[in-house]
Amino acid sequence: MPIATPANPALLDVSEVSKSFGSVAVLRSVSLQVTRGEVVTVIGPSGSGKTTLLRCVNFLESYDSGSIRIDGREVGFRDTGTRQRRSERDLAKMRAETGMVFQSFNLFPHLTAAGNIMLGLRKVRGKSSTEARAIAEHWLGRVGLAHKADSLPAELSGGQQQRVGIARAVAMEPKILLLDEITSALDPELVGEVLEVVRSLAEDGMTMVMVTHEMAFARDASSRIIFMADGGVSAAGPPAEILGAEIDNERLRSFLARFRASHF
C-alpha cells in the first residue's frame, strides 16, 4: 500500500474535513491521503458521506473545517490559511485539475459525444477546434466509441453515455479522477463495459478515487479501500484486508453481510 512520504508526497491530502447540512453532520473529521497512481475505493452505506466527500474534493460542495489539498494546493480556499473562498475564476482553474464522472452521466444534451469532450478542451485548455477534435476522437477510441463521435447523448445507451462521460473527464488530463457511483444508474448488462474502461485507466496509472457498490470490482481494481460510516472513516486498508473475513470491525462486517445478502 503506497503511503505518502516526503519522497512520495500525497497527491490528494484530505485532512480532518468536517461538514454539516444544518444540524446533520455528514462528514466528521475525515482524513485521507492518495498518492500518485493509486486507486482508492470508498464504500459504505448510503448516507455515510461518500458522495459528499467526493464532491468536496473538487469543491462542488464546500466544507466547514479541515483542508483538502491537491499537489499541495488548497482546493477551495486561498492558500493564505484564512479560509477565504477562492474567486470563481480560481475555483474553475482548480477544478480543471480534477476530473469527475457522475452517477447520472450529466452529458451536455445539446452537444455531440465529441462536442461534450471538446468543450472543456477549447474553453478551459485553450485548444484549437482541430486539436480538440483530435483529442476527443483519441479518447472516444479509447472508450470504444470512435464511431459515435457525432451522436447526441439522447442517441446513446446509458453505458455509452457514461463512457463519453469518462472520456470527457480524462481528456482534460486531470491529476486525479473522481468517480461517483458511475455504474449505479446502469442496467446490469451495461456495467461491465464501463468498468472495463476504468480498469484500463487504472493500468495506465491514472490516480482515482471512486465511490462504488461494485465490490468485486473494488477488490480487483483498487489499491486501497476506505469504509465510511456515519460521516467518518471507519476502516481503511488493502482490499484483501477490508473485504476479508477476519476484519475486526462490527459495522463493516454487518455492512458487507447486508450487502452480500442483497446482491447474491
Binding site: 477544478r95 450529466n106 451536455f108 474553453k123
Partner: protein, 221 residues
C-alpha cells in the same frame, strides 16, 4: 335583410390592409427581439441576484402583467412625454411599449427555463473547469432555450395579435387599415371579415413555421 356583401371597395383599398399586415409583422418582430433581450438579461440577473434586485424585477413583471396593454400604450404615448421631455413617433412609442410588455412575460419564461436546467449539467460544467460565464453561455442557455422554445413561439403569436392595439394611437397597422376602410366606405362587415381572415391565416402560418423550427431544433439536439 337587404344587406348584400360587396367586397369591391375592400379590394380597391387592399393596399391599406396589405401594408398594415406587413407593419403588424414588423412591429411584432422588432418588439419580440427587444423583448427577448430584456427577458434574457433580467432573467439571468434575477437568478444570480440578491433579494433587492429580485424585488425590483418582480415588481416590473407584476406591473406589466396586471395592467391592460391598451393602458400601457396610452401611458407611454400620451403620459410619458408630458412628464419627461421626450418626443417620439406613435410607432416608436408602440414598439417601446410592446417590447417592455413582452419582456416582462419573457422574464418569467426564461427564469423558469433557467431554473429547469438540471443541476447535474451545471455540476458537469463546473467539474471540467468552466467559469460561471462559460457555464451560462455554453451549458445553461442552450438547454434553457430548448426548454423555452414552445413558450417563445406562443409569446410571439400573441404579440402579433397584440399589435392591433397600436391602432388606438393611429399606427397604420392591419386593424388601423381596417378602420380606415370602414370609415371611408362603410363596408364594415366585409372589411372585418377580410381582416379576420388575414389575422387567422397569418397567425396559422406563423404557428406552423414556428412548430417546424421547434421540431428541427429538437431533432438536432
Amino acid at each position: 335583410m337587404g344587406y348584400t356583401l360587396n367586397f369591391n371597395l375592400i379590394w380597391r383599398h387592399f393596399d391599406k390592409l396589405w401594408g398594415g399586415l406587413l407593419l403588424s409583422l414588423e412591429l411584432a418582430v422588432i418588439s419580440i427581439a427587444i423583448g427577448i433581450l430584456i427577458g434574457l438579461l433580467l432573467a439571468v440577473w434575477y437568478v444570480s441576484a440578491g433579494r433587492a434586485v429580485r424585488a425590483v424585477i418582480a415588481a416590473y413583471v407584476e406591473f406589466i402583467r396586471n395592467v391592460p396593454l391598451i393602458l400601457l400604450v396610452y401611458l407611454v404615448f400620451y403620459g410619458l412625454p408630458t412628464v419627461v421631455d421626450i418626443a417620439y413617433s406613435a410607432q416608436t412609442s408602440f414598439i417601446a411599449t410592446l417590447s417592455l410588455y413582452s419582456g416582462a412575460y419573457l422574464v418569467e419564461v426564461f427564469r423558469s427555463g433557467l431554473e429547469a436546467v438540471p443541476r447535474g449539467q451545471l455540476d458537469a460544467g463546473k467539474a471540467i473547469g468552466l467559469t460561471p460565464w462559460q457555464r451560462l453561455v455554453h451549458v445553461r442557455l442552450p438547454t434553457m432555450l430548448r426548454i423555452t422554445l414552445p413558450a417563445l413561439s406562443n409569446t410571439f403569436l400573441s404579440l402579433f395579435k397584440d399589435t392591433s392595439v397600436a391602432s388606438v394611437i393611429s399606427v397604420p397597422e392591419l386593424t388601423y387599415g381596417a378602420q380606415w376602410i370602414n370609415f371611408n366606405t362603410f363596408r364594415i362587415v366585409e372589411v372585418y371579415l377580410v381582416v379576420t381572415a388575414m389575422y387567422l391565416l397569418t397567425g396559422y402560418a406563423l404557428l406552423y413555421a414556428l412548430r417546424l423550427v421547434e421540431r428541427r431544433f429538437r431533432a438536432a439536439h
